[in-house]
Amino acid sequence: MPVDEFSAKTVGALSAREERIRRLLLVMALSSVSILALIILFVFREGLPMIWKTGVSAFLLGTRWAPTKGAFGIFPMIIGTLEVTLGALLIGVPLSLLVAVHLSEFAKPLTRAVMKPMIELLAAIPSVVFGFIGVTVIVPFVREWFGGTGFSVLSASIILGVMILPTIISITFEALRAVPASYREGALALGATPWQTAIRVTLPAARSGIVTAVILGMGRAMGETMAVIMVAGNAVVIPTSPLHPCRTLTSNVALEMAYASGDHQKALFATGVVLFVMIFLLNLLAGLLVKRR
């Protein structure tokens, strides 16, 4: 940035007062890193000993969760989280890509000016409200059309699929807009239709942005709590059909935190540790993919 040539280094040595201000700002700037460190410290300090005590494989791969009887296996919750996240992506990603392509490539400026803020507002609706809509609308819908109780992986996937739409649409939209116009012009000049141009030239060119968008959406789906709790049924079983109920890592913590104590509470922190590591790896992956481009 050209700012640098006129900042601290060239304007001359900072006066004592200015230097104090600089130090104060530095300390404040370190707050996010310190908070991250504190989160790791406090959550891991409670959770990790419990994972060692139960045994890493017994904790991660154990299928029995009976905290009052000392059985702490979170395998069903890990599978539940993965299934619900995958379901949300299957529903959310195709919809998001179509919407982003429409808004960025085909829509009239007026349509875009109206639709884009509305879709962004969708992101502002609290997750409890999505959960409530899930219980009152989606769960009965699934029960009537697909059978079962309606509290299921499918219901949770639908709700999460809608919740991640704004995230994926916004980032994909930005990525599509960043594709130089010359790409589109080249394709059109070769006789490609606007649709072919969008799907075969513009979308592939925006690939890395789209991957970032999907990963961020995935992180949001994985970490979502309140909406999932209300529609997923929360039974500790390994769901083998989309119509089975399931419990995710997040719901496990939220459901039992209110009354847990002792080892039980530590096991919930350990669940948090597993979730944290999963999300962290996902973010790392996103970071690597972004850097590569």
Binding site: F6, L36, P117, L165, V179, L282, R293
Partner: protein
């Protein structure tokens, strides 16, 4: 942004489809096919967009239809009666406002200071990399983990108990990256000439920042604050573990309280009163949509300048 390897590849593929046919008859049938395919694809994209936009409208509409019958001034200024089955949500509104106030009072200075330090005081290097990485990780952490953290640090270790203070501090940690990012974007957008102008007039660094840069970046920074406010109001998972669920009017910041979204969650989940749940949900969504539309307008006016 663009993968240089992508371009020739995709362009080739398109040209291959476009020049597949050689005779004139084949070419015109291919063109018809392409045109039909083109119309189909574009219509599907358009329909999907309308469908997704309709989701927002129908959520708000649905809550309005179910919630409006009980929507009255009394709902906002009365205390809840009988666990929230009747009466209003006044103490809950006050608690929500206090919670938002505490979290923003802490997060806003920290977020702006981080942005100022990164844009005005350093070159890109190891330190900025670490700070950015920290903020990015923080933004990706699920709220339930903030809940666990806030419970352990503020509620238990620091002995604040379930209180507005614990909840506000936890929420401050959660929205810090939002404020930092939007502030940074806004500060970066301030034209460099203005900085030079300031320095050329003999202003010190802190004077340039407080008198030129921050006023110029005001709208962008405010947008971030409003977005953070919306998140604070809508958050449930981490508030429930740190602020508790007391329905009483809080007497101090160290009292347990109940935020609007927690109140709504309890009404809906425990089936206390489904009518009141609809009304509270509508009030909550209306509040958040108002807050966020404000942010949108500000963002647009910031963009125009």
């Amino acid at each position: 942004m663009i993968d240089s390897a992508t371009r020739p590849d995709s362009v080739q593929r398109v040209s291959a489809t476009a020049t597949v046919s050689t005779t004139a008859a084949e070419a015109s049938s291919a063109a018809r096919y392409n045109a039909r395919y083109n119309r189909l694809g574009m219509s599907i994209a358009r329909l999907t967009s309308f469908f997704v936009t309709a989701i927002l409208v129908s959520i708000v509409g649905y809550l309005a239809v179910r919630g409006l019958p009980r929507f009255s001034p009394g709902f906002f200024i009365d205390s809840p009666i009988n666990l929230g089955r009747e009466g209003g949500i006044f103490p809950i509104l006050v608690s929500t406002a206090l919670l938002a106030l505490v979290s923003l009072v802490i997060a806003v200075p920290l977020g702006i200071a981080t942005a100022v330090y990164l844009t005005e005081y350093t070159r890109e290097g190891h330190l900025t990399l670490v700070i950015r990485f920290g903020a990015e990780c923080l933004a990706g952490i699920p709220s339930i983990i903030f809940g666990l953290f806030g419970f352990m640090l503020f509620v238990v270790s620091l002995g604040m108990g379930w209180s507005i203070m614990s909840g506000g501090l936890t929420l401050a940690c959660m929205v810090l990256p939002t404020i930092f990012r939007t502030s940074e974007e806004a500060i970066k957008a301030v034209p460099d000439g203005l900085r030079r102008l300031g320095y050329s007039l003999g202003a010190t660094k802190s004077q340039v920042i407080t008198r030129i840069i921050l006023p110029q970046a005001k709208n962008g920074i405010l947008t971030g604050i409003i977005l953070a406010l919306g998140r604070v109001i809508g958050e449930t998972a981490c508030v429930i573990f740190t602020t508790g669920i007391s329905m009483e009017m809080p007497k101090s910041l160290f009292d347990s309280a109940r935020s609007m979204s927690v109140h709504f969650y309890l009404l809906a989940r425990e089936g206390t009163s489904i009518e009141m749940a609809y009304t509270t949900a509508f009030a909550l969504v209306l509040l958040i949509l108002l807050v966020n539309s404000g942010a949108n307008l500000l963002m647009q006016s910031a963009g125009r300048r």
